[in-house]
Symmetry: C2
Subunit: 259 residues, 2 copies
Amino acid sequence: MARAPHARYAFIGDTARLPYGSKSRRTIARYAAQSARFLVGEQGADYLVIACNTASALALDAIQEAVPSSISVIGVIEPGAETALRASRTGDVLVIATDATVHSHAYAAACRARDLRALEKACPLLVPLVEEGWTDPDMQTGGVTAQVLRIYLDELLAEAASAGMNPDTLVLGCTHYPLLKPLIQEAIPAGIQVIDSAESAAEKLVMHLSGDFDAPPPFNPGDPIINCFATDSVEKFERLGSRFLGRPTGPVELVDLGG
Amino acid sequence: MARAPHARYAFIGDTARLPYGSKSRRTIARYAAQSARFLVGEQGADYLVIACNTASALALDAIQEAVPSSISVIGVIEPGAETALRASRTGDVLVIATDATVHSHAYAAACRARDLRALEKACPLLVPLVEEGWTDPDMQTGGVTAQVLRIYLDELLAEAASAGMNPDTLVLGCTHYPLLKPLIQEAIPAGIQVIDSAESAAEKLVMHLSGDFDAPPPFNPGDPIINCFATDSVEKFERLGSRFLGRPTGPVELVDLGG
């Protein structure tokens, strides 16, 4: 929305069946394809951004097959690896993500295609900690999250060291992790740069849109139109979504994808 | 299985759509009714035990309506409150559970009907911590869980004190919490008794079965027959389910409830 404020946005959160990160490829693909068909078939989307790393990692093909081939489908994995390539000098990249994303090894493959070495680690507790709002470094609750991050990241750094890697880049491979960025930066050595793959995906979308839109104008929070949909718990979506968006989501419409 | 080892058991875990604890009544009722129809219609169940506290709290009526009225449906809320009544001398009861169970106030209502005062607290991080296996008090990871429990339980005890309550009983209102019992007992004053509502539900089932079964024989792990079904990730179900069951689940069959 910051980079293309004059586009119309429709966002669906499959809140009835989240989280995807602990589910199988087959189930994730089925659910993600239903959401994609809703956005294209009922909301008239021309471009699909798969903001969820897990759905990007496991279901990008299934989503593209579920919609007409004229629809551009943009995931977050390839753009994230592309930004890692630009950021890394050593060529050694760390990735933290959900269980399903890590087991798909989608980031490792995207990095390998760019001659980067990637080491991935599943961090299943981070999404629940963000959903619970335990993200403030100055609170006792944020202290718990800091400790969880230290356990995960120390294991990851030790594993990288024993593999002879010299990582200088950490990719946040899940939508929720950017809300933990201050805590993550405290838990890793200063020489490691933290990359948000969502920012890279937004860049890629703007390139797709370049025929329709001018160079990035300053962010105007009054301008972009966003219609939000959820498959359950619209109140919870409004509360959490507003924290992610940095402004109110507006009214969220309940939709039934049939599951 | 310990109390009625000669029964045949069929267990379904709706792993494609878990956790229920963060979802709405409408969605939980729809999902739970689908599982109930599977157990009765395709597995021939005569009795339904709703082992999930969230489904018991929000969907017991919907489940009973989804199956023939000849089928006995046993939830965990009423038995849990009944055991609290037997355990409590002060009449003041604490309940920890998922978000959805707490917001339903099902335990408070069941306690009120027995002249008990109940104070309920949602503890959304406990299920993910158990699923991650961070339950060993002697590990650094178990130390994190101990700290999370202290935050939740200190808040609950402070709230009880400021309401003028003198609690002597804590009900574990979620299937996952019994695996945290040692850590929970360390986090609360010694005078508070910890109650597992699943044990009370098993007692209630045995009373229903009393015509068909004799008095409780000693537990024979070779005897009971259990057939397990899951809607996703059968490997994960086998791994976690065996931890809960205390013996291998045996092969788990994947079923599609249409969601």
